[in-house]
Symmetry: C2
Subunit: 404 residues, 2 copies
């Protein structure tokens, strides 16, 4: 398995593109993206657990109920959520794209991201369908990744090449996500494409299993979005024997999928709104996986710890505090904590109590861009990792005046 | 019932004081406080639910197990938590004060607040006991309130006069709390004194009932402290018939207690670290109280909403989003949202969808210092209120370098 270029176009038969259609005022920024597969693709998805759900999610869920899709349309600048005609607009987007591509509207995945609660005018999208379809290209992943960005500062793309039964397969994805990131059984907007042959049921199983350890372990600000969605489309053009049960091929696929999702998780957390650092909290020695996850997520969500990391302050008391209120059943008198980065590793707490350490060395570790917070509970064999970012002035600035 | 001056000294027989003993480097800032009752007082307390608990809480819990106390000692600058000799130090603090006052060490309430994980050197406290006791005065509430402050920018004091069975009673309190505020069945540091006669059991019942609607409904940053504690001491010097069961007198006491705690809640939220605004989220029309509380607390905790309020941005989509992920069972298509302040009230969302409104008028409402977020669920009769504050650059600054 190796990382390759190409994003969502790395897999055979997939093209993508993105244009500026006019939803956003800034003409320099693409705001409408497309992904297309030459053939119908087995498709799975997971959705936000927020009770307030974007209209596009309802339409997508309906469209892929049969397990298949062939194209994706996604706009940024407006979430098409909490307005009176959202469903109608999302369905219209599918129909417009389907007509342009000569496919069925029920084979289109539709998504929107941006401000909640405003009507999405479908006119600029309708007027731009020919241009959108013309933008499809084998090198179009980059433009598609740009078209779905909101407050993201970097495009998020990844692709991996792997083998199943002697056949070379490819899987790649693009993601958007920077604020309102606290996925729960779903996440952000992520579109993954793959040329593997796999049944819709096994694909859904793979995706649902994967996100528990990847996207659901990311938090930027504790706010679960209304429009979170991950989709995976597999068009079978790699020519492998179809994966329709568990076994070696399924495991290989899972590994490749996990490489893509894990990579996108780190990219999303590291590009959290206003973030200057990626935080990775690794919990080991937990009595069970649920405990490990609860602890890791609680630490990564603590505003106080996030602000301390921004200041490169080794304030490990905030780690202990966040473990203590997490709700996890842990023995606080056994907890060890270390901070680690490219500059080295420093233990700061042993058996729940502070130890002497060099503030200078700690600082040199914490000024790095990627910080690991290592927590050993010494009560079992289970482990978990969660991803987040620091809390900065810039986060407040971005969100103090996002809408107006 | 009326608000009066005097804080914790408003109740008969109580004196208080505060000095600088040397725990903090800044000699201008008091760091050690005392409260004293002429007679033994029925005493109740509630404590943090954080599994990581400050050593002073364990010692206090033990000391007031018999239902009585006579004095309080509290330092700021060091939380005496997550270190190897915390219990020993907290017990020593009680003994030192008890010796100075000629009372029993087991009648002392001890508390500490400040940095977690560092040893608390008892020497400066031991050396300052005579000065601390000399500071006791009928006008000492102000100095005691200062001695317990950490990142607080204002002293938090309140007192109320009320009547029970024709006898004039007084209840007052001081509080500290600015960051690490997300109480859960306990809270911050709050010391309340009263001259009512009430049994320890009824006092505990009153306190435990009260905090569910007051301190447990406050959040500054979602972080539940390790050292949260509320104590109430009632010395009976008002001369009322002892309250030892429910009834009119108990209800009058509850009302007075609630006036004090509610007032301190608003003061704590309004002085949240870096805050420029007090946010009050009022939920009505919920099917039950638990739903109303869950919704109110989720909204008040949303980093995105808090940042929007800082920017005076009427981004009500973030209110809907926070209701949606709260876990409460609500019909999102029935939700109405308005913003209100001294400048007026503006509806922004009706039946879960946006309505036209004047951005200018909304701005004029949201630039005020106290903002109400009014949510009507239109599904029942239950209601709840939660208090919080906006999220600002200053919060990040304070917490980026709190410890070093």
């Amino acid at each position: 398995m190796k990382f390759i270029e190409g994003g969502v176009c790395a897999a055979k038969g997939f093209t993508a593109g993105g244009i500026h259609c006019g939803i956003r005022k800034n003409k320099e920024k693409r705001d409408l993206s497309i992904i297309y597969s030459e053939t119908l693709a087995a498709t799975a998805a997971t959705y936000t657990t927020n009770l307030v759900k974007g209209a596009p999610l309802t339409v997508t869920k309906n469209n892929i109920a049969d397990g298949y899709a062939q194209a994706v349309i996604c706009n940024s600048g407006n979430a098409n959520t909490c307005n009176f005609d959202g469903i109608e607009v999302a369905e219209k987007m599918c129909q417009l794209l389907a007509d342009g591509l000569s496919i069925k509207a029920s084979d289109v995945v539709v998504a929107s991201t941006g401000v909640i609660g405003q009507r999405l005018d479908v006119t600029p999208i309708a007027n731009s369908i020919p241009a959108l379809i013309s933008s499809l290209s084998e090198n179009g992943s980059d433009n598609a990744a740009e078209g779905i960005m909101t407050t993201d500062t970097v495009k998020k793309e990844v692709a991996v090449e792997f083998e199943i039964g002697g056949k070379t397969c490819h899987i790649g994805g693009i993601a958007k996500g920077s604020g309102m990131i606290h996925p729960n059984m779903a996440t952000m907007l992520v579109f993954i494409t793959c040329d593997c042959a796999i049944s819709p049921a096994m694909l859904q199983k793979a995706l649902s299993g994967d996100i528990k350890n990847t996207f659901n372990m990311v938090s930027v600000d504790g706010d679960t979005s209304t429009n979170d969605m991950v989709t995976v489309m597999c068009n079978g053009m790699a020519g492998n024997d179809i994966i329709d049960s568990e076994g070696e091929a399924y495991n290989e696929f899972m590994k490749a999928l996990n490489s893509v999702t894990m990579n996108l998780c780190r990219k999303i957390a590291g590009d959290g709104e206003g973030a200057t650092k990626l935080l990775e909290c690794k919990v080991t020695g937990a009595k069970d996986e649920a405990t490990a996850k609860t602890v890791a997520k609680s630490v990564i969500c603590s505003s106080l710890l996030k602000a301390a990391m921004f200041g490169a302050d080794a304030n490990w008391g905030r780690v202990l505090c966040a473990i203590g209120y997490s709700g996890a059943d842990v023995d606080v008198n056994k907890i060890d904590v270390s901070f680690k980065s490219n500059a080295g590793e420093i233990p700061v707490c042993v058996n729940g109590a502070g130890i002497e350490f060099s503030e200078e060395f700690a600082k040199s570790i914490l000024v790095e861009k990627e910080i690991e917070i290592l927590i050993s509970l010494k009560s079992g064999e289970a482990s978990a990792t969660a991803w987040g970012c620091d809390l900065t002035y810039e986060y407040v600035k971005i969100n103090g005046d996002y809408r107006t």
